[in-house]
Symmetry: C2
Subunit: 258 residues, 2 copies
């Protein structure tokens, strides 16, 4: 048996999230079906983590064991030929027998995209949360500085979180701006969060709180106070799924994605 | 009655083209329905030209007569609230009584986008034609120089073209490259064509021929020979619709879109 690790991009719009669920259409099901068709055997894939319904991925990572002898350099093209066109694998490598995409992940980066201004872009509507009124970008940048570092993120995870520890480290939290689309009188902001792990809905609750800070409903320093309170009820709402993308997963100090 | 001119972006993926056709879902129908709901009267819109099924628009222009007294600065937001989210109007102005979006158009720009390389981008699949193997970009650029100027484009229009004259002027034909997406081992080229008018399928046939030149199936100089032959049978195939976008329409030497 070989342990094969692959990287995949997908448009999450049409899927009930990544992880298999009975009777639902998931990215995992599509991948497992495509691999089974190719390898001629059932496979069970393990991903670096779940993504919710509507969430996209640029570089989701998963691995699986197979007895197939198909050469490694043929896997991506052959699997893509068996996938719908909103899912594409773009990297395949053989990894150590005990490699596990979730347990071995050292860092992950998520991106959340917000279009701010008069008009949304109908051609990017599935990938950008649209916010019609201006946001205080400087206040949002200040708030992001409080998120960096090791914290108990109880305030910023779903009450359905089952993880035993809510302590995570955010190595970098930054906000980047794209050049404005003058004709639409709007522009896009991307919030990148890189950490050693993320709790359930953590990025979306941080972003939902950030947007309230951007709207002037809260001060930037509230971000610090909310963190310290360890109370989900004090944070903002969970931002909508379609603005979120799993950007990159890093292993062993060197990125598996280049 | 006021003559109102609007500019609209749309994702053409779900539509049977711009122009109304019995029993089909078209952008024009959606716009006319939204305007009628707002204005409280039936309207008939005139666009700068048709776009085929699957073709997108960044800046399609249309106009219509209405007796509605709604202030001009409210039209866009109010119509957008009555449109599906793959269509967005973003400019409205009152124009001369005899303004006609098609007849008064002086120049139009179309963009055709091609992703070349190992993997397609599943998040942009509706907006990029995917070409897995390399293209000779220099040869394509040379071929585009033959397209510029005033020519009889009989070779580059559908045999169903009914226009009395096939002479058109291309003011600019250029190819731009986007930064490569390293992870997908692919990059995107945009072909921009600006002219005083375009015959049926003209951009798509020029691009289909350019791709054959890029593939090395033809020499760049064939573009000149095909033009001179005035024979549709000598040109390449009609490139697929989803790579094409109506980029901008210009009126009276000053762009109506800014």
């Amino acid at each position: 048996m070989r342990n094969i690790c692959m990287t995949v991009s997908y448009d999450g719009t049409s899927y009930n999230g990544f992880q298999s669920q009975p009777g639902l259409n998931t990215v995992q099901d599509r991948l497992e079906r495509a691999i089974a068709l190719l390898a001629g055997e059932e496979v069970k894939i393990t991903a670096s983590g779940r993504t919710d319904a509507g969430v996209h991925a640029r570089g989701q990572v998963f691995n699986f064991l197979t007895s197939s002898q198909i050469p490694l350099n043929r896997w991506c093209m052959a699997i893509n030929a068996r996938l719908p066109d909103d899912i594409r694998v773009w990297d395949a490598r053989q990894v150590a027998d005990d490699f596990h995409s979730r347990r071995w992940a050292k860092r992950k980066t998520y991106r959340y995209s917000i279009r701010v201004g008069k008009y949304m872009d109908p051609l990017r509507r599935h990938m950008e949360f649209y916010h019609p009124t201006a946001l205080r970008i400087d206040a949002m940048r200040e708030a992001l500085t409080y998120v960096e570092g090791e914290h108990d993120f109880t305030s910023f995870c779903s009450i359905r979180t089952v993880a035993p520890s809510r302590i995570r480290t955010i190595y970098e939290a930054r906000l980047e701006t794209e050049e404005a689309d003058k004709h639409l009188q709007s522009s896009v902001f991307h919030i990148y969060l890189t950490g050693n792990g993320f709790l359930y809905n953590m990025v979306r609750i941080i972003v939902g709180t950030l947007m309230q800070i951007g709207e002037g409903k809260r001060e930037a320093s509230h971000m610090k106070a909310i963190l310290e309170a360890r109370n989900r009820g004090l944070a903002g709402p969970t931002a909508m799924a379609h603005g979120l993308m799993l950007w990159e997963v890093f292993y062993e100090d060197s990125p598996i994605i280049t």
